[in-house]
């Protein structure tokens, strides 16, 4: 697959162009090595389907979600104000993001602070691309017939009621979707939310991601599909500590779709 250049808002604006969609990458998607491959998959899907999109690049900054959930409302609102002035400055109307935390905070908490956009999680956007027939998958892609389970991110599922979009994407892979005993509104957290990602867990008798990995093992799935870079990290670690990395893959739905559509670089 050939390479292409992801346009930034600054470049596009300099050319006098305005994209239809802003791809909000998020901190994990920008800096975390594992999450970067999710980001690239999303960018490739957007490019492949000829969506007019751009990213903010260095002009993007943390939405403030971990600060807010850890109790630092000041820092959150400072971040929100800075981001909103950038977004409004570019006249952004529609945002797609690969992170449910960014998705939630921009969709639900930015509007009162002056940032009103149509915000979509990448699973929702990809689901519409598939429904519109803009994405065709290869005949012999590696997920066909595979047993796949979906781990609901709290801030997409329980928090915002979106359970169907990611599942419809998995179904489009012609795979066998199996549910964990705790799924959808009853889905168990991966353990990273509420700023837990950035600290050690409190004293207990188990790690939350190990508890969740047991749910995965029960399904006998060979792929855990995720829709959040933090869940992805936690589930990858959980599968590793259960010593199942050889038999169970942890993949974001964007990576799966990009792979199935043969649009990832070799």
């Amino acid at each position: 697959m050939n390479t292409f250049k992801v346009p930034t808002m600054a470049e596009m604006t300099a050319e006098g162009k305005a994209p239809d969609v802003l791809f909000w990458v998020g901190c994990a998607g920008s800096f975390d090595d594992r999450a970067k491959s999710i980001t690239k998959a999303i960018a490739r899907i957007l490019h492949h389907t000829e969506i007019s999109f751009a990213v903010l690049g260095a002009e993007e900054s943390c939405t403030g979600d971990p600060a807010k959930r850890a109790g630092n409302e000041f820092l959150f609102q400072m971040q929100a104000a800075a981001n909103i002035s950038v977004l409004n400055g570019y006249g952004i109307k529609k945002i797609v993001t690969g992170c449910p935390h960014c998705f939630n905070i921009m969709k639900n908490e930015y509007p009162e602070l002056g940032g009103k956009y149509e915000v979509m999680h990448h699973s929702q956007f990809i689901a519409t691309l598939i429904a519109d027939g803009k994405l065709t998958l290869a005949d012999d892609h590696p997920f066909k017939g595979k047993r796949i389970t979906f781990h609901d991110p709290c801030y997409l599922g329980r928090g915002n009621g979106e359970y169907d979009a990611p599942r419809s994407v998995i179904e489009a892979l012609d795979a066998e979707l199996v549910e964990m005993k705790r799924c959808k509104s009853k889905g168990l957290c991966c353990g990273a939310g509420g700023a837990q990602m950035f600290k050690e867990a409190e004293k207990g008798n188990k790690e939350i991601n190990d508890e969740r990995t047991e749910d995965v093992l029960e399904t006998k799935a060979s792929v855990v599909a995720t829709g959040c870079p933090f869940c992805n990290t936690m589930m990858t670690d959980g599968v590793k500590s259960a010593e199942k990395s050889n038999t169970i893959d942890v993949k974001d739905i964007a990576e799966m779709i990009a792979q199935a559509a043969n649009i990832l670089p070799e």
């Binding site: 800096f31 600060a67 850890a70 400072m78 639900n108 602070l113 928090g159 050690e200 004293k203 939350i208």
Partner: protein, 443 residues
């Protein structure tokens, strides 16, 4: 005549004790911070009808849910019978509604089935708590009073239902014997099976037993009325206002603090004069001392205090909490119980000091709820989703974190580092902001 007098006295005492406790709780709720939940009325009525009246979230766990519906429906409908008991008690009549004829027979028959349902459900509930010992009834915060409270209620309901059925059984025998005052009325599909217990009694003994059960039933119900607002059983009333004032937004949405917005707006506004005299407050209004988040009981919003009094300690929140499930200190149910206990304490303190709170050296944060509990929350909202009456323990946890951070600057070290990183380079990790777009190069 004398029995009518005693009856009215008992009724008056029961109702006034109940009213006194209601006034206490109401005052405690009003101590909370003001928030405006007067919007979206039709949506609120709908939520209340569905969640409280319709028990829609109870059936998420079918066994407990269906048994609870038996008790709930039984409780509500059998109370219709209370109306007759009260009128009979005051007027000295016997089954005053019996003029309804076949309708009356149908009603009494239906009440008996409901009473049996309540009785069986309560017996199963007792077994679940004490014999099977479900995990969620055995956590640390359930030791002592909370468990006793639950058992008292269940045993009381069983006794009340037994008295109700026995009252009917002895009444039916008295009617059959054509005793004076016992005019024939009602149908007794369940209590007929209790008649062998009482059929051997003499006429005098029978009347004594029938009156005894009647008095036991009404005295029991009145005691129950007084007991309920001191107990977790207060949910039978508070579930209604509590669901009416439910959070109607999606559960992931966390409120933006208006006081902080004001500060940030000032900072972002280049024309703002930081030294400007603030606009004078309306006559007679005193500015609240600025205080961020929740440190003590009265920092909670009135809705959060209402939630703490509505909680029935079922533990569904704790049983789905990822932190509780992996042995961490945090239990969302304990958060609610702590808030209620602290509000009781503050309220009693005020009552003992002629209405003014006398500093007692205690705080909700620290003396009841520890920092360790607060930091164990993943904000996954499972507790919020699980609560059968839409209580939000997570909201209180996050509000207490706000107090820890914005009032006391107390955070675990990695959290402080995360804050610094966001402040300095716009990401929770220590990567330079300029390299945020570096992934683009190899996309």
């Amino acid at each position: 005549m004398i029995s009518q007098f005693i009856f009215v006295l008992m009724l008056g005492l029961g109702i006034s004790l109940f009213a006194r406790r209601i006034a206490f709780v109401r005052r405690n709720i009003n101590m909370g911070r003001n928030i405006d939940l007067s919007d979206r009325k039709s949506e609120r009525w709908k939520t209340m009808a569905l969640v409280a009246l319709g028990q829609s979230k109870m059936v998420a766990r079918p066994v407990a849910g269906i048994l609870h519906i038996f008790v709930y429906v039984g409780f509500v409908i059998i109370n219709l019978e209370m109306l007759e008991i009260v009128i009979d008690g005051i007027l000295g009549t016997h089954r005053i509604f019996s003029f309804l004829g076949p309708v009356y027979d149908l009603l009494i028959g239906a009440f008996e089935f409901l009473a049996l349902g309540v009785l069986v459900a309560c017996a199963i509930f007792l077994i679940r708590r004490n014999v099977i010992g479900l995990a969620r009834f055995k956590s640390k915060e359930m030791g002592g009073w909370p468990s006793l409270d639950a058992n008292i209620i269940l045993v009381a309901e069983i006794l009340l239902m037994f008295a109700f059925l026995s009252m009917n059984a002895t009444d039916a025998i008295a009617m059959e014997r054509g005793l004076d005052h016992y005019s024939v009325a009602g149908s007794f599909p369940i209590s007929q099976y209790l008649t062998p217990l009482y059929v051997g009694l003499s006429d005098v003994g029978l009347v004594f037993a029938e009156r005894g059960f009647w008095w036991f039933h009404i005295a029991g119900v009145l005691s129950f009325l007084v007991y309920v607002p001191y107990s977790k059983h207060f949910h039978i009333l508070l579930a209604f206002p509590n669901t009416y004032y439910s959070n109607l937004d999606v559960s992931a949405k966390m409120n933006n603090m208006a006081s902080v917005k004001k500060e940030v707006d000032l900072m972002m506004d280049p024309t703002a004069d930081p030294y400007a005299t603030p606009a004078p407050l309306p006559e007679g209004q005193v500015e609240d001392p600025p205080c961020f988040g929740v440190k003590d009981g009265a920092d909670l919003s009135w809705k959060q205090i209402m939630e703490s009094y509505s909680c029935t300690e079922c533990g569904r929140c704790t049983s789905v909490c990822p932190a509780s499930n992996t042995g961490k200190e945090l239990s969302p149910r304990k958060i609610m119980m702590d808030c209620r206990d602290r509000m009781d304490e503050i309220g009693e303190n005020r009552d003992a000091n002629s209405g003014e709170f006398k500093e007692d050296g205690k705080k909700l944060l620290g003396d009841y709820i520890s920092e360790e509990e607060l930091w164990a929350c993943t904000s996954c909202q499972a507790c919020v989703d699980a609560c059968p009456i839409n209580i939000n323990p997570m909201g209180i946890i996050l509000d207490m974190r706000r107090s820890l951070i914005m009032e006391d600057s107390k955070s675990p070290e990695p959290i402080t580092t995360m804050f610094n990183n966001i402040e300095n380079n716009g990401a929770p990790w220590a990567f330079p902001a300029a390299s945020r777009g570096d992934w683009i190069k190899d996309a």
